[in-house]
């Protein structure tokens, strides 16, 4: 049951994409998202599709896992599609009562749907190929310049990695507590909303107590090992760009330029 929820849903595999520096992957995701929203033509979307397909292929992660993330946005997607479909002005194709479906509306709806789907798949590629720890490491290093303007970059990164680390622990704990209470005849499924909320008490009290205890223990353990914030702290595995990371950056740049050209002067002309 709870095991099915994936948040930091890392998929272990041995691919180039897994080995890339997390900063490259962060930049790549950004570039991809920017390209989705900046360029708006059928040719550009073909280009984005090819790029995404290639990346998925390289990642060695089964497509099934990529698509899993889509489940959560189905509702949002339907909403955008419906709104765009009916509320865009332009050449009317047909009418449904007082609502008019326009050519422009259909076009926007389709593009929006594609954008959203690609957005989710694109970021799934990153989270599926990067461990949560690598991700926060990458974020910390990439955001380091912000430290100059007194943004507590290290603290934010530390909090993020602790939070990420605790998600599976607390999920597992929730599972165990639920089972322990179900063994005492607790019922988490039936009843109305208020009854259901009430039924959660036997789950939430032990969970909160355990979360506080864990937080306390962790703070103690960190202090015992001399943790005193980010100042002067070194890393066991510092992030260093390697050859493949530089190549990846080059490819990203190339992708961006190509997309720009394709969008400007059409697909085939862009390739030549």
């Amino acid at each position: 049951m709870l095991r099915d929820i994936t948040l930091g849903q890392y998929y272990p595999a041995n691919s180039v994409l897994h080995k890339l520096d997390p900063r490259v992957k962060l930049a790549g995701t950004m570039v991809f998202i920017v390209s989705l929203f900046a360029f708006r033509s059928a040719e550009a979307y073909i280009g984005a599709t090819l790029f995404l397909a290639a990346v998925i292929r390289i990642s060695k992660v089964p497509l099934k896992f990529m698509l899993k993330g889509l489940k959560s946005i189905i509702f949002l997607m339907m909403l955008t599609v419906v709104f765009n479909l009916f509320l865009t002005r332009g050449t009317v194709v047909f009418r449904l009562g007082f609502l008019a479906v326009t050519e422009e509306g259909i076009e926007t709806a389709v593009f929006m749907a594609i954008r959203l789907v690609y957005l989710i798949i694109g970021s799934s590629v990153m989270t599926l190929t990067t461990t949560p720890n690598d991700l926060t490491d990458g974020l910390e290093k990439a955001m380091r310049p912000l430290g100059k303007v007194r943004v507590p970059v290290h603290e934010i990164a530390m909090m993020m990695s602790i939070a990420l680390r605790f998600i599976p622990i607390l999920l597992e704990e929730t599972d165990k507590i639920m089972k322990a209470q179900m063994a005492r005849g607790a019922d988490f499924e039936s009843g109305g909303l208020i009854q259901k909320a009430k039924n959660m008490i036997p789950l939430l009290v032990p969970l909160f107590i355990s979360a506080f205890r864990r937080a306390n223990d962790l703070a103690m353990a960190m202090e015992a090992r001399g943790y005193h914030g980010g100042e002067g702290r070194t890393k066991m595995k510092p992030l260093v760009y390697r050859g493949r990371d530089k190549i990846a950056y080059l490819l990203l740049l190339l992708y961006l330029v190509l997309m720009f050209l394709v969008n400007r002067i059409g697909f085939f002309a862009g390739l030549i």
């Binding site: 998929y11 896992f65 322990a180 209470q181 063994a183 005492r184 005849g185 009290v205 032990p206 355990s210």
Partner: protein
């Protein structure tokens, strides 16, 4: 009146990257009134197996019968089964939540829909059975010691009047005295209430002196299922899977190797001492 398990398989996370075959073709008969020890190394599948006994986990294939009824059949009353097969988990912290001990123990019987009087009389009875002093009844369960918490957790299950009591590592994290106290109490309970008790542990020493039957789990399979003295004869195989026979088993085997004519199947210190004295008196 018994539990029967037939060809039970369980796979964790089927269809994901983290798939794990936790139980492989388990066949067991757990008749009424037995005192059973279930032993296995961490990850041997023992905790997974006991969660099938009250339907918390559903086997990927195979069947579990409670009193000859298949619990996976449509319309089987799972809630009733859970009151009949009481499962006490390893960490009492996972189930204690009420403001005081007594109310917490009442949670189980209350869920069964019993009257207030019945609920309270059962809670008293359960707390008496686990040997918790009355002065703790109105104390917050979070202020108790580890051993006392565990007693309250066991009482919380006992208050539902189960016919089968399954205890998952009831001695984990307790000092030797606390361990003996809890196990003695459980043995007394078994005597008094004549219920089936299944004691899950990774320590042979713990269970050897109490149980009449030991089920050894290894890699999701039942490796041995026999009386303790028979199981301990395989002490070399037990060692190979990271378990060990009680220390007296080693002592008696050692003595035999030196030519002492003592039986090697003693399971408790007392029994071994008796056998050695008998041998010395004879020679």
């Amino acid at each position: 009146m018994a539990i029967r398990i037939e060809h039970l398989n369980y796979i964790y996370g089927a269809g994901t990257a983290f798939e794990k075959h936790a139980l492989r073709d388990i066949n067991l008969d757990l008749p009424d009134g037995q005192f059973i020890g279930m032993i296995g190394h961490t990850g041997s599948g023992k905790s997974t197996l006991i969660q099938h006994l009250n339907g918390l986990l559903k086997g990927t294939s195979g069947a579990v019968y409670y009193n000859d009824k298949n619990i996976y059949e449509e319309g089987f009353e799972m809630k009733r089964l859970r009151s009949r097969v009481g499962l006490v988990f390893q960490y009492p912290e996972h189930q204690l939540f009420e403001a005081d001990v007594f109310t917490d123990v009442c949670f189980g019987p209350k869920n069964l829909g019993l009257s207030k009087e019945e609920t309270e009389s059962r809670a008293y009875e359960a707390l008496r059975l686990v040997g918790l002093k009355e002065k703790y009844y109105k104390v917050s369960p979070f202020e108790l010691s580890g051993g006392q918490k565990r007693r309250v957790a066991i009482a919380g299950i006992l208050a539902m009047n189960p016919e089968v009591l399954v205890l998952d590592e009831p001695t984990a994290g307790l000092d030797p005295k606390g361990r003996d106290d809890i196990l003695d109490q459980v043995a007394k309970l078994h005597e008094e209430k004549k219920i089936t008790v299944i004691l899950v542990s990774h320590s042979m020493e713990d269970v050897a002196r109490y149980v009449e039957r030991i089920i050894v789990m290894n890699k999701g399979q039942v490796m041995f299922d026999d009386a303790p003295r028979k199981v301990f004869q395989h002490y070399k195989e037990l060692e190979a899977i990271g378990l060990a026979a009680p220390q007296v088993t080693y002592l008696m085997h050692g003595l035999q190797e030196r030519g002492w004519k003592v039986p090697a199947d003693a399971t408790t210190v007392e029994e071994a001492a008796g056998a050695i004295i008998e041998y010395l008196q004879k020679s």
